[in-house]
Symmetry: C2
Subunit: 223 residues, 2 copies
DNA sequence: GCCGTCTCATGTACGTCGTACAGTTGTCGA
DNA sequence: TCGACAACTGTACGACGTACATGAGACGGC
């Protein structure tokens, strides 16, 4: 593995750690992100991490912050509020979508990062424009962000881990399990079968349910 | 602590373990649910757990199944599909709401339990009635369930753990952090402040966003 | 040139976790 | 009475997060 001890041995840095934690989580899942593992990948003692992070939890904070910082908010511009809301939520979605393994970390940490505050500010602003009172806007806004996180975390398609063979096997098993259900009790589940275990088209899945959310906001706004 | 070794010392059972795991998670959070801790509460060796569960993951499966089994689906009845959809989603929400600590476990395990299949069947059935094709129904249905989970997991109000004092302190800190933001950059965040860190009225929060979801389904159904 | 001081990393050690593997008990039908 | 099987014990291992004490390199001031 990429020990830094060969030749270059640059200084450890908080950002470098985060970056390798990100790719580790993407490649092997969040449970593979370990103080010891990260230290090893940087050719360094586990305890060296504690110079840059108070504890593991603040490392996870760092991961969440990484997510939020990746959000590319659209220019404030004009146009109907619902289209702009959709654009903002879409930006959030696109930022976390590449990292389903730890998107869930953002759930409780959005407001902890600068970038998250900006996102929240934009969402709340648009909701106010739509006519929501401050309290309602907060409630709806909170849920919208969490729903976006749930959207990417819920993509049933498994990530690159575990190994290819095991993953295929898992998918096959799940499919078989659904297919072998009693058809008179679960006709719709069986009909939906394949779509439930793997997303045939993530883009469509995300777009459809993003629409659902925005239309939902319009729905409750009217009364 | 409730050691079973006094007098009664009944046989260990899968259900009994699940039940104590549930109350442990409710009281101290999911990370307090530990093979060793559960064994101790039943006055038994950790390894005794492995007679009833393959491994910790299947214990968590059991927790998720517990959630799904708690769903009290309304009678199929008649009426507009959207009202019935709301009722079904509400039933799901009410089932998991008492257990925010491990509601997230249900995300990937809904279809693993009998009760989850029934819930999914009902949701898909209603979506088909609403005019969605099988594929779309699967995508929307999947997201709706996940969104409900996210709804209860996102209630920012912290649970009964950590200890009261620490919890109050945490809430105070968060509030102070939001209040001290530059008002010209984050007017809406500051205005929404209190509502963002703690839910003043969970019932309203849930009802509002449940409406959002149902209205959203109506919105994308029309075109 | 020498020397505190500050930054960053090491080394050792502890307690907790999940769990593999082998052995022991209690119960019960034949 | 006796095996067979179900339920549980005992010991041990490796991985985890991290407390605490120590050590090295850089750097500005004397």
């Amino acid at each position: 593995m990429a020990k830094r001890s060969d030749v270059t041995r640059t200084r450890l840095s908080r950002d470098a750690i985060i970056v390798s934690a990100v790719s580790l989580a993407d490649a092997e899942g969040l449970e593979a992100v370990t103080i010891r593992r990260l230290a090893q990948e940087h050719g360094v003692t586990p305890m060296a991490m504690y110079w840059h992070f108070n504890d593991k939890d603040s490392l996870l904070d760092g991961l969440a912050e990484y997510l939020m910082t990746a959000v590319r908010l659209p220019a404030p511009g004009d146009g109907p509020w619902d289209e702009r809301l959709r654009a903002v939520l879409h930006a959030f979605l696109e930022a976390i979508r590449p990292h389903p393994a730890f998107a869930g970390l953002a759930l409780r940490r959005i407001l902890a990062a600068e970038a998250g505050l900006q996102l929240a500010e934009r969402v709340l602003d648009l909701l106010r424009q739509a006519g929501f009172a401050a309290g309602k806007a907060a409630e709806v806004g909170t849920f919208l962000m969490c729903a976006i996180v749930a959207l990417v975390a819920s993509d049933p398609t498994p990530g690159p881990w575990p190994a290819d063979d095991d993953r295929d096997q898992l998918v096959r098993d799940k499919r078989a399990r659904l297919a072998s259900l009693p058809p008179e009790r679960y006709p719709n589940v069986i009909a939906a079968g394949p779509a439930l275990v793997v997303c045939r088209d993530s883009d469509e899945y995300f777009a459809l349910n993003l629409d659902l959310l925005v239309q939902g906001v319009r729905g409750i706004q009217r009364g």
